[in-house]
Symmetry: D2
Subunit: 346 residues, 4 copies
Amino acid sequence: MIIIMKAQATQSQIDAVVRRIEECGLRAHLSQGEERCIIGAIGDDRPIAKDSFLLLDGVEQVLPILKPYKLASRDFQPANTTFRLDGVTIGTSSIVIIAGPCSVEDRNQYIETAFAVREAGAHALRGGAYKPRTSPYSFQGLGEPGLEILAEARERTGMPVVTEVMSPEQVPLVAKYADVMQIGARNMQNFALLHAAGESQHPVLIKRGMMATIEELLMAAEYVLSHGNRRVILCERGIRTFETATRNTTDINAIPVLKEATHLPVILDPSHSTGKWEYVTAIAKAAIAAGADGLMIEVHPNPAEAKSDGAQSLKPERFAELVRQVRMIAEAVGRDLKASEHALVQ
Amino acid sequence: MIIIMKAQATQSQIDAVVRRIEECGLRAHLSQGEERCIIGAIGDDRPIAKDSFLLLDGVEQVLPILKPYKLASRDFQPANTTFRLDGVTIGTSSIVIIAGPCSVEDRNQYIETAFAVREAGAHALRGGAYKPRTSPYSFQGLGEPGLEILAEARERTGMPVVTEVMSPEQVPLVAKYADVMQIGARNMQNFALLHAAGESQHPVLIKRGMMATIEELLMAAEYVLSHGNRRVILCERGIRTFETATRNTTDINAIPVLKEATHLPVILDPSHSTGKWEYVTAIAKAAIAAGADGLMIEVHPNPAEAKSDGAQSLKPERFAELVRQVRMIAEAVGRDLKASEHALVQ
Amino acid sequence: MIIIMKAQATQSQIDAVVRRIEECGLRAHLSQGEERCIIGAIGDDRPIAKDSFLLLDGVEQVLPILKPYKLASRDFQPANTTFRLDGVTIGTSSIVIIAGPCSVEDRNQYIETAFAVREAGAHALRGGAYKPRTSPYSFQGLGEPGLEILAEARERTGMPVVTEVMSPEQVPLVAKYADVMQIGARNMQNFALLHAAGESQHPVLIKRGMMATIEELLMAAEYVLSHGNRRVILCERGIRTFETATRNTTDINAIPVLKEATHLPVILDPSHSTGKWEYVTAIAKAAIAAGADGLMIEVHPNPAEAKSDGAQSLKPERFAELVRQVRMIAEAVGRDLKASEHALVQ
Amino acid sequence: MIIIMKAQATQSQIDAVVRRIEECGLRAHLSQGEERCIIGAIGDDRPIAKDSFLLLDGVEQVLPILKPYKLASRDFQPANTTFRLDGVTIGTSSIVIIAGPCSVEDRNQYIETAFAVREAGAHALRGGAYKPRTSPYSFQGLGEPGLEILAEARERTGMPVVTEVMSPEQVPLVAKYADVMQIGARNMQNFALLHAAGESQHPVLIKRGMMATIEELLMAAEYVLSHGNRRVILCERGIRTFETATRNTTDINAIPVLKEATHLPVILDPSHSTGKWEYVTAIAKAAIAAGADGLMIEVHPNPAEAKSDGAQSLKPERFAELVRQVRMIAEAVGRDLKASEHALVQ
């Protein structure tokens, strides 16, 4: 961090800042300009409460220099993180598509959709058994019976499943059934949950909070990584802005920013980031063009009957068309979109 | 809800919408205009997935009419909710001030601050034993030993204590030590935690998420209320906007909006909503002028040494001055700011 | 518009609303539900101050139904607007790229850059002679001498030029020199300027304000169109959000939303929407993947010496690489990116 | 500015940065840490394109230190700017209230309202003759006949008038009729207009753009001040955020931030910052409690008939009640709200 003293700061004020820097286990480096003194604090200042320096007399500004995340950064690990789920590897040049209904509503419907999305080109399944809902009066998910349906779908289709976990207590149960535990946007800064997910050593997909900065998303990943759990996927799903034409604003800039800042796989969820099925394919293509490693797409056999998120769900045939178009984009950027291994062997 | 059909909608499309409305247990009321047909759905549509109507053929727009919250609304309960904590009643014409350090760091320092804020005019104590921190490398709170310090401070000063709870598992423990459980901004849509707080029947203070609309804050309260737990306090603490001159943007409009929409007590936390101690007193006064029922203020005996939020903490003597100024505003709006009963009896 | 009466509205209140609707030249259509009365106002309510109905006794909500823009809408004109500039037609399946430095700084440098971007594949030139700058102490542009340099560049390269106009008085002068007058983001709701641009009958490129909704952008276009000037290009250039990792947040959703809502050509400026040259190519590709009709790119022969926007400017060789990659995306979405006709004839 | 070099920056890269600093007329001050070199650029760097340093090899970050505004800052002028309009002085401890209809619609109605607001306690009149409207189909104001009505109201009531100017060409005309020219929120960065307003040497009221930072508002003032025109009033009128319960979000933090940063008078417009008359009085009181020097309030004799902004306009009797309540707050913060001198003498 750099501490900029006020123009009129006295020598004893400067000395006090230097003393405080040293108490924090850092070294101070003075740069006495003509107008003001600038003090660099040398060493790893990540655990230090930097703002408190603002309160020392004579201090005008405190400027952090080090990024607050370490394990998540490309400086720490230049090569992409890749890891294998059943039948698919994420983080390589091959695009990965996760698809399925917003929530698991019904056994038959879910299994049928699972086969349909596999047929259409998906590599993994999504579906919520525990649903974070704004209203206590809305459908809250099937709970453990929903997890059992997911497990059956995995067994029958061979595809790995991604499903949301909503509290630390649920972590063991969800880890038992799911290949990847999703931490939803509203829980991105649920630090108790991030700790538990880290400790589980189970693959984790973290969705960006709708008002979280990219840096905060990386800090959420850092929580999981700091427990030695390296299998983390980041997912942009739209942020909240003043624009109301779409449910959220897809922060497409986040794709190249994240790909530069971190080695973790980065995917985009255009279903949530737009909120309207009409725009999902266009934004899915944009994501891959911008460098995303994968997509998460809501697909429902009968969106008008969905218990949640119907308006942003694609019918299976439209999803198949999305996959075809996304494959063209993947190839245009020098990547590929393979068919699911399990679809191939059938 | 009102469903607006497209200009070219056919009779069979209209019939399908009516059928769907009736399947949802509502009644349909047609209004055939010259250009288009408008269909009102009559009945309580709160549990219905309204967006799915958008997917029926011929539908152009779906407009909700009923507010999604019920128990939290003034329509449901016109009179203000008031309830008694030890030595103070919240929700009346008397302003309530909750004060103390951001986190409980040290027993002696905390007890000393507790006496200082009581002396200065506070009615309740704040202080975090579990701290939600953006970085896993920052101070995470003392945990249960911190709760014990809070309990000791309560016993010695007579003042009720407010402290944060971060996961459903912590609810019984925190409820044992604290008079009011705080659900922090980052957990405002941690629905597992809201359910657990509701079930506890213990008083709850919900801080507005930095990305949450006023309606979503009321829906978070609805989660707690729906378990029969009526002792809920709402706290505006600033929202995230493009402005960077302050840590957050105090949504002062939220005060009159909430006071009109709900019967629950509404307080404001100017320490978080500004992020700089220099602005805390001005915004505390504004909050009371706008109709808030109370304040939550960070006070630290030595802000430059605070392990968190030092830059926004007031020294006790500045806090005493804040109380004096806030009292003037309270009286100017026909309210009062009584001394703590426990301060009086000493 | 639809007017929703309060549950307890009286017959005389309903009558007063009906009377007011009729005074506005509309017809009223009552729908008496069991709980409340809903009144549809039939006719073109665009010029009506709809909010004022909120003030009539017994009114609870006023819901607009008609979109506020008409000439800009696809309902009004289903086919894409296309028009020819010198050597290029905008709005067709061929992608159009406008490139050049942020501002015209120097004759030789500008002419050299113009040839370089033509060589690299641009179809039109950009460059500001009048610069909107946040600070009065920053370089404000060369003024008319800058326009003369633009005219020379046009003559020598054969490419049409796009340049910004900042006030109604400048319209005749800028129209004399430029093929397309740009209305910058900060002037998107400078209605005096929009009127003057409309009256000029000269092609206009409107950049979305950083605080403007998509609907407001379409209303800005409506101002120009309402003067019978149909040659309007819309340009997404990023909106202002809480995210600070990039200068603005590219609203990529705006591309499919606009392409659905309007017949006007839609382009994207990734230089401004990201603010960092490192991200420009990724977002340029995303724009075309999402359906944009063109791009506007800042190119400078020596960005480190640019008087404005250096950090977001590409060097000519990087721009040539961008064009190559964008061409691949254009082909993947069934479009093309032709070489400039003028580059071909050379 | 401070330039932070990358950890691996070479000596020749450092030398190049130093050379560039010196070419800009500044002096360089090196601070060679163990990990990286930090270079301070000493001197007034306001006119320098700081971002371009980012493009020099080896540079990691560029941090501005000096505030970009000078004449507007309290460092430049510690004492409050005060100036006299007819019958009232702005910027002193006396609160100033500007009131009147959104737009001048009708001579009789305007004159009547002018007397009513003077009677109720206003010190100056507002009213638009030129109206910035989102839609070209909405009422655009009466133009010069509206200015004549304002002049008549001024003559008859003795109160100064504030009215909006929308383009540089209108400046002489508006300056002839109005005591204060208002630059509206949508024109806050209309730099041609700011220049013209500065040159006019006429008092100017600048409304904050709905997505402008506080710093940008001060830079808009700097444009006017840089022409030697010192009579500038700043007006917070709400910013655009994700919250839709109110038309805008009142940035109440801006009041103490601006009062600390600048010597210029700061007022607040709660009519626009809330958009609903029900909340205007609460926010007016909050503004004065937070330290504002005045208020701008929309008052209309019959809001339901207003051609614009009816929903946020107060009836004269409610405005009189607002003045009474605001006076109580003014006194509670050690200020006063005098009756208009012209009201007194009548």
